[in-house]
Symmetry: C2
Subunit: 308 residues, 2 copies
């Protein structure tokens, strides 16, 4: 079996992990321009350039080293009939739950205010709000969104969850469609976006939709940067309609030095660390998926027309 | 039935809550110098001055409007045979669990570093550590400590809990005594103090004990301020042996303007807000306790010699 690995940043980590997971396979690391005459059966990749699929014409399946497949499905060179698998719940859901838990408590328990008070040497206690007044709205109820919903619900917050197709999650008020989104926005003190980047989520959170959040609303974005119209967010933070934001992802990463959010005390910036891929667990899933494919079965691939 | 209420800061809130809870009782609010000839059956109080017990000589029981009874039992005027009740698990345990969860995630997920990076406009992801390498040591396993231990364990962290008398908490490695404390300190990346202020906890966390924490250790203090030798903490933060601290309580509150911790980026200061008393739930417990006493039974009072 021939497996080709590509990751712009962590090639060595991934290549050696794939070698360990498939001791009998011929595992190579792809470099643009290389391997012209070596055609792999499987690819384990992260954000390859278009040339990758122009060269690799014998692939049986592609494994994405993460959950977000937006940059992959946007490649015109990706054959329409080539099955693409994304990682499904290999530990990122726990990372994301912890990230959102932190952001939620940060605003709910007024740690944003206490941070400011500390720099002013001000000892000023605030009354703790009722959790029942702090509904958390979660956009996206895939494996990660579902885990986040459960974690937030376990803490005692009411949760509304929105997904493209209606889902059922215990303890979560599940909605879908345009009306469902509208309801979620009007009710949620904290809006958590875990949406993938697709044509239908692009700038979904804009001036019009974010304005529907109640006064003092908060945004936590752990999904994809382009789901947010960042200028609209800036306006709503400045006007005071929104209280704050915790942002892990941006349309252009790293966030450019000149961006005003770096200096905005209402915005907490993290460098795309909410839910990295745990490599070892990812490989376990890829090994199991390839074993199925080799037996003639097909694990659940992504729907390229939906983009996830 | 006559009930006397005292709270230096929130007298009105407490007096009206007690009136609502005991519609048939004669409820008064004590002011120093007042009520000389009106002797109450019960007192619902927070940090009264010594004169309170010199005047009120007919009390059957005293209800403390919180968990910490240190300032109360230190009053020489408090009769040795007067039963004192503290609040036992009326919601503060959830407040404290959320507070500790936030502090734990703050350091575990490197939010202290990302805060610094943001002010430097630096996009620098850090690898997420294994939770198994971040043992949380909890000092104090009363109602609150037990709830915190369970919350932290639910998040996936190993937990060691220390108490004066050996306890059993599911999923928690429970220790006691000097050797138990020693073990906890050497193993805990995060040390959470929820200890009451008593002669035996005074400055328990000092240069000698805090030095036992592993390199990069973190302190979260949600208990009482005088349990920490704050100069020793300062030295260990400066030397880098300790990574950071989250402090809600201090020997003198408010923390004085001149204190160097206000400006120390390794220290997060909050103004004694980790676990305030939820008044309504507190009253439910007091109503039930008084009903028992009136029937000739005695709910569990504090042990004044232990100080909690």
């Amino acid at each position: 079996m021939k497996i080709l690995v590509y990751n712009r940043k962590n090639s060595e980590v991934w290549t050696s992990a794939v070698r360990n997971a498939f001791p009998d396979a011929d595992v190579r690391h792809w470099v643009e321009g290389d391997c012209h005459d070596w055609l792999a059966d499987y690819a384990v990749i992260w954000q390859p350039p278009a040339a990758f699929f122009q060269q690799q014409t014998q692939l049986k399946a592609v494994f994405n080293q993460g959950v977000g497949v937006d940059s992959l499905v946007s490649l015109e060179s990706l054959p329409a009939d080539l099955p693409v698998f994304k990682l499904r719940g290999v530990g990122m859901e726990e990372y994301m739950s912890d990230y959102v838990t932190y952001g939620l408590l940060h605003f709910y328990r007024d740690f944003d205010l206490y941070r400011q008070h500390q720099s002013d040497k001000q000892w000023q206690p605030h009354r703790i709000a009722q959790k029942s007044d702090w509904t958390v709205g979660i956009l996206g109820l895939g494996v990660i969104g579902k885990a986040v919903a459960e974690a937030v619900s376990h803490l005692g917050f009411p949760v509304i969850g929105w997904s493209r197709s209606e889902k059922t999650v215990q303890g979560v008020n599940c909605v879908s469609g345009k009306e469902g989104l509208d309801h979620l926005l009007r009710e949620s003190r904290v809006l958590v976006s875990l949406l993938p980047s697709t044509p239908s989520t692009h700038k979904l959170l804009n001036q019009e939709t974010l304005t529907k959040l109640p006064e003092g609303g908060v945004l936590i974005n752990g999904g994809r940067g382009d789901v947010i119209d960042i200028e609209a967010l800036q306006v709503l933070l400045k006007s005071g309609h929104m209280r704050g934001a915790m942002l892990d992802v941006f349309e252009k990463e790293p966030l450019e030095d000149s961006h005003p959010f770096w200096n905005n005390s209402k915005v907490m910036i993290t460098p795309h660390i909410a839910a990295p891929t745990p490599v070892a667990q990812a490989l376990e899933q890829i090994v199991a998926d390839i074993a199925l494919i080799e037996q003639g079965e097909m694990p659940p691939a992504i729907d390229k027309s939906l983009g996830y």
